[in-house]
């Protein structure tokens, strides 16, 4: 636990240093235009209730960035919280993001995982390095490599696509794949490919910023991870109906 605290202090110092870089220096002439403005973006891409899952959780996936055209500090959060008891998991990332090409950002920073609930909780930290951007044919893509504070290496790829039925009624298929080099039983992670998620959400954009949605989400554990789950008497996959709200500002 103590090393996590050390890391979070380092992360804060790192963030502050970046903030100075981002906000700092511009030529006096530049005051004529607003081209070095700092913007703040907050988004809950998913904020949904999963009534069919055993813990009837609320699941969330959100992000926030602060910065200009080329440099941003990026925060990401995802997790789930049971609506039945104090139980869930949380993953947070704090990243420095740099525009490396027209459609891609390179991101580096820290990730913290936290499991909590009636059983034993667990927390671990990672270094995170990845790219995020828009691939040809309009696929939103994110690909990350993580190294935990114990040296465990894992990776994640996420992709999504917007399919327009009308200008406001949009179907968003989504895919995520996780893998790990070492097994980490404390977090239920086996080595090899660990799990994937396939989802499709239909949203209606009342305004661009606010869209209620319904959808299906199928999560499946695979390989050694699935074996570990079976060994513990847990299921390895489920498909659930989800209903939620997408919001940004």
């Amino acid at each position: 636990m103590s090393d996590v605290r050390v890391w979070s202090r380092r992360a804060a110092a790192f963030g502050a240093a970046i903030a100075v870089t981002v906000v700092g220096g511009s030529s006096p002439l530049a005051a004529q235009t607003m081209d070095d403005m700092i913007y703040t973006y907050v988004s809950f891409d998913e904020l949904e209730y999963v009534p069919g899952a055993s813990e009837e959780p609320v699941e969330y996936k959100g992000q926030m960035w602060i910065g200009g055209d080329f440099e941003r500090i990026w925060f990401k959060a995802r997790g789930e919280q049971s609506t039945l008891e104090h139980e869930g998991d949380f993953e947070g990332q704090a990243l420095y993001s740099r525009t490396t090409s027209a459609f891609w950002n390179t991101q580096v920073g820290l990730r913290v995982d936290h499991l909590y609930g009636p059983g034993p909780g667990a927390t671990r930290g990672h270094l995170a390095l990845g790219v995020q951007g828009l691939a040809p044919y309009w696929f939103e893509l994110e690909s990350f490599l993580f190294v935990s504070h114990r040296g465990d290496v894992s990776a994640r790829v996420e992709a999504s696509y917007d399919l327009l039925f009308t200008q406001r009624l949009i179907v968003e298929p989504e895919f995520e794949l996780n893998g790990a080099v070492q097994s980490v039983p404390q977090f239920g992670v086996g080595s090899g490919l660990t799990d994937f998620e396939l989802g499709a959400r239909v949203r209606y954009e009342i305004v661009r910023e606010l869209a209620p949605y319904v959808g299906m989400s199928w999560v499946r554990l695979i390989g050694e991870t699935a074996d570990m789950a079976r060994g513990a008497g847990a299921g390895v996959g489920n498909a659930n109906f989800v209903a939620g709200l997408r919001w940004w500002y």
Binding site: Q32, M34, D35, D69, F103, P136, L164, F165
Partner: protein
């Protein structure tokens, strides 16, 4: 402004200045709505107020910049106004006047006025941090400059996004001599766009989701329709070629009718601004596009339009039925409404879906049918700069050949042949020059003769970095094209190649050198720049006083950009030899290569930028600095200002 410091006159009454100041306070107390967001509106929106006409020949003009509640189509909003109206007053001068204009700022932020298209001393040009510090809250700044030209111009704020909030007005300068065209009456028609959202919020939304205002994207049903009409294979390959480039063919305007209501002289389409005429009169319409981000396609169904001026400059009269007016440009047309009936003035937004509308009528209260909106246009392969690649549109080449033969031989030693042999890759290797943006060709190879159309060119290897999402592989001259969404309606549409100066230019020298600039952008991040470098990261473009410059622009983006140079006229090389038309603002189409000539005859830093306000403020802006040549000004003095006035 003499009484500036005397707040009260001898009788202790509140002076005009105090009234303006306290007026703001009373306004807040009296109307609670002024502190509420723009979308909250009350049934009793203020009525439209006609802009005053101020005669600058009669004496100094006083302008007060402030916040005013205005009404548009029955809905109230808070505008940044000049003397309380949107647009501001029409300023009238006569060529030869000295303009004296006191501008008082009652806002709680800085402001400024730029006199768009006027040739004036650098310190009077009105761009904060380029020409002067700006006008602070409570301050009065006096603009004073000789009026050495005539025509239709306009003025507007060059501070932040105030122009979007209503800070603009018309300026009309009568010639010292006579007009070449007679007319019985005239109307100034200021087109603009208005949003009930804060423009700063609009900008932030575009930075976060650049497609925020595009409600015309292609859907699954469009795909099915296209597949049944054009075949599945063709439709799939079309979608793949756009998707592969991550470009959207419906990306015509960043901001659409989803946010904008379009105004004619400050009135919404329902308010129906009306200009009167007597049947049989020749009526001059002075069109000004004061919109922050909207191109308009203008027509008056039932009346041909005879274009007589562009950007305040006489052109050979040319008759047409419709013209596209980019932001910041002006066109003067003459119409002859013969019948005793109303005619609609219809100015449709380039992305369709909205229009400004007014009426020409023999009496108040009349109206004519309003045309149906046209279908949303789509960008094509030619807009991607693939025209040459696809091997079916080499129109530019033929056009160029043509102009070579038609051209009046200019006063130059160069032969027309020399231009044809130029290497298509020439002039691109230098765009990598650090921060400079200024590319110089012509040092070794001779430049083609002045007035001719530019030759097509392949893009070089430099793709301008992360600030630019794509390049025009083959940039061509597109001056003979009406533009996206125009030309298919069965009536005439004005093209840049239709326009030539009324008189040939006396001083029509060949350029000394060429500066090539690429207009660049990344629509996915709403970044806009020149040569991939935004203004705050760029060095000024330096030219020496006395130089004759060929400014070549290549648009690597998929959008139109109205590029405006302050302080010096640009001559548009549209193939008309020594009768090429003079402009202050030039539209550059996607994948277009356009060239203009200018004399660097005015010392100092001058703004040069895209006149789509949000592009300018995203960084599509440069300072062109005219510096004294090494060795002093002496031998250049013969190229003075005298040949640069608006007079012919």
């Amino acid at each position: 402004m003499n009484g500036h410091d005397d707040h009260r006159d001898g009788l202790g009454r509140i002076s005009r200045r105090d009234f303006v100041r306290y007026g703001g306070t009373f306004g807040v107390l009296a109307g609670v709505d002024s502190v509420l967001p723009g979308w909250v509106h009350w049934a009793g929106a203020p009525p439209w107020r006609e802009p005053a006409v101020l005669d600058g020949s009669a004496g100094p003009i006083e302008l007060t910049i402030g916040e005013t509640r205005i009404g548009i189509d029955g809905r109230g909003g808070t505008a940044t106004t000049i003397n309380g109206t949107v647009p501001g007053p029409i300023l009238r001068f006569r060529e030869g006047d000295e303009a004296v204009i006191h501008v008082t700022n009652t806002l709680d932020e800085d402001t400024s006025i730029h006199w768009h298209g006027l040739i004036l001393p650098n310190a009077m040009d009105g761009v904060p941090n380029v020409n002067f510090p700006g006008i602070r809250p409570g301050e009065t700044f006096t603009y004073r400059y000789p009026v050495r030209q005539f025509g239709t111009y306009w003025y507007h704020s060059h501070s932040k996004l105030q122009e979007q909030l209503g800070h603009y007005g018309a300026m009309v300068i009568d010639p010292a001599g006579s007009e070449p065209e007679t007319y019985d009456r005239e109307h100034v028609i200021v087109l603009s766009d208005w949003t009930f959202s804060s423009p700063y919020r609009v900008m932030a939304r575009l930075k976060k989701h650049p497609d925020y205002y595009n409600f015309d994207k292609r859907t699954v049903f469009d795909f099915l329709r296209d597949a049944s009409e054009d075949g599945l294979g063709r439709t799939v390959s079309d979608r793949l070629s756009w998707g592969g480039m991550r470009m959207n063919p419906t990306d015509i305007s960043d901001i659409t009718s989803a946010a904008f209501i379009y105004l004619m002289n400050g009135q919404g389409p329902d308010d129906n601004w009306t200009g009167l005429f007597e049947p049989g009169e020749r009526v001059r319409l002075r069109f000004i596009n004061a919109a922050a981000a909207t191109y308009f396609d203008v027509r008056v169904p039932g009346l041909p339009l005879t274009v007589i001026q562009m950007d305040g400059q006489h052109v050979k009269p040319v008759e047409t039925d419709e013209f596209r007016i980019p932001p910041a440009k002006t066109y003067d047309v003459i119409v002859e409404p013969g019948e005793n009936r109303a005619y609609t003035i219809f100015a449709e937004s380039i992305a369709r879906g909205g229009h400004a509308r007014g009426t020409l009528a023999p009496r108040e209260g009349m109206e004519a049918p309003v045309p149906d909106p046209r279908e949303r246009p789509l960008l094509t392969m030619a807009d991607m700069g693939m025209a040459g690649m696809m091997g079916h549109d080499m129109g530019g080449m033929e056009q160029m050949d043509h102009s070579m033969h038609d051209m009046t031989p200019p006063d130059t030693a160069m032969t027309p042949d020399s231009t044809m042999s130029s290497d298509p890759m020439a002039g691109h290797d230098h765009s990598a020059m650090a921060g400079g943006a200024a590319a110089m060709t012509g040092m070794g190879s001779p430049l083609r003769p002045p007035g001719t159309l530019p030759e097509d060119s392949m893009h070089g290897e430099d793709e301008h970095g992360p600030g630019n999402a794509g390049v025009a592989m083959m940039a061509t001259s597109r001056l003979d094209e009406p533009g996206v969404g125009l030309g298919e309606d069965g009536w005439r549409v004005l093209r840049y190649t239709d326009l030539e100066a009324l008189e040939p230019w006396d001083d029509f020298r060949a350029p000394d050198r060429e500066i090539e600039l690429h207009l660049t952008g990344n629509m996915e991040r709403f970044m806009w720049s020149i040569d991939g470098v935004k203004f705050s990261d760029a060095e000024p473009i330096r030219v020496e006083y006395g130089e004759r410059i060929r400014l070549t622009m290549i648009n690597d983006t998929m959008m139109n950009h109205p590029m405006h140079l302050h302080g010096m006229w640009m001559e548009l090389e549209n193939g008309k030899g020594n009768r090429i038309p003079r402009v202050h603002t030039i539209n550059v189409k996607p994948a277009e290569k356009v060239s203009l000539l200018f004399h660097a005859d005015a010392l100092g830093p001058w703004a040069f930028h895209c006149h789509i306000l949000y592009h300018m403020d995203a960084g599509m802006f440069r300072v062109v600095e005219v510096v004294e040549p090494e060795g002093g000004m002496g031998h250049h003095m013969h190229r003075g200002h005298d040949d640069r006035s608006g007079v012919r």
